[in-house]
Amino acid sequence: MELKVENRAGEIAVVRLAGRLDLLSAADVKQRLSKAVSDGRRRLVVDLAEVGFIDSSGLGALIGGLKAARLAGGDLRIAGAGDQAKVILELTTLDRVLRPYSTVEEALSGY
């Protein structure tokens, strides 16, 4: 899985993921999200537009990143979720705590 962090103004970072967010990649993604928060980027937007598949381990990484951001007084938003990501968010009802935004721009609006 590829992961790029783009720092933006106002403690915001856009984290762009590409590939499969699964058991193989989840621990690294969670660690990178937590590091972005500890580096002062406490408001994260995770761009899922290039993520083809997410499993429960991948969801756990996003929940872990969200907890790290909230503990620092920030937040984590997900954007560009594909159909499979929406399916697994609905099956788990985790869309209640990880509300999908259509685009990165929408997620950044008013952040």
Partner: protein
């Protein structure tokens, strides 16, 4: 759950065959490790192409994604738990299309699955009450019509995942 994700009936028209013989099949044997899980999704893609070649069978996109998500969860569960203590071993997957359903059958030769753990669930909107793991079997059960696990007398683990075209 929104209406678009609640749809079950997905076929443009019913499959023509009625026998119990599989109309299309894809098999895969890999090492049960996280690094090999991508091969399951490659096999799924080959399976859907085979399904599309069967006259009359064209399951809906979201219906397919639910089946794929369930297959991915059980595959990951085997990769994580079947062979512990640094040992590696194989897992076998057989994907089958029947007239009224698709099935995935996993076999591994590892430790017996321990079903005593309580599956995670989201009970509120406070993220600090939300577990970071333990959703796999709940996801598979929610996405499928049937999920069976059996420890065989030969000491293998057998998982059967069933998703029907009709309610």
């Amino acid at each position: 759950m929104t209406a678009s994700f609640a749809r079950i009936v997905q076929l443009r028209r019913p499959c023509l065959a009625t026998s119990a013989r599989a109309l299309a099949q894809e098999t895969l044997e890999i090492s049960a490790t996280p690094a090999q899980l991508g091969a399951i999704h490659d096999a799924m893609e080959r399976f859907w192409r085979a399904v599309d070649n069967v006259s009359g069978c064209s399951p809906d996109h979201v219906w397919r994604l639910k089946f794929e998500t369930a297959v991915g969860e059980i595959g990951a569960n085997i990769a994580r738990h079947a062979y512990s203590h640094g040992k590696e071993g194989p897992m076998r997957l057989r994907l089958s299309l029947y007239a009224d359903r698709v099935e995935a059958c996993f076999t591994d030769w590892g430790l017996a699955f321990n079903d005593s753990s309580r599956p995670s669930e989201v009970v509120g909107d406070d993220v600090f009450d939300v577990p970071e793991g333990g959703y796999g079997l709940a996801i598979a059960r929610a996405a499928l019509d049937r999920l069976d696990y059996r420890r065989t007398p030969r000491g293998t683990n057998s998982w059967r995942l069933v998703k029907r075209f009709y309610e």
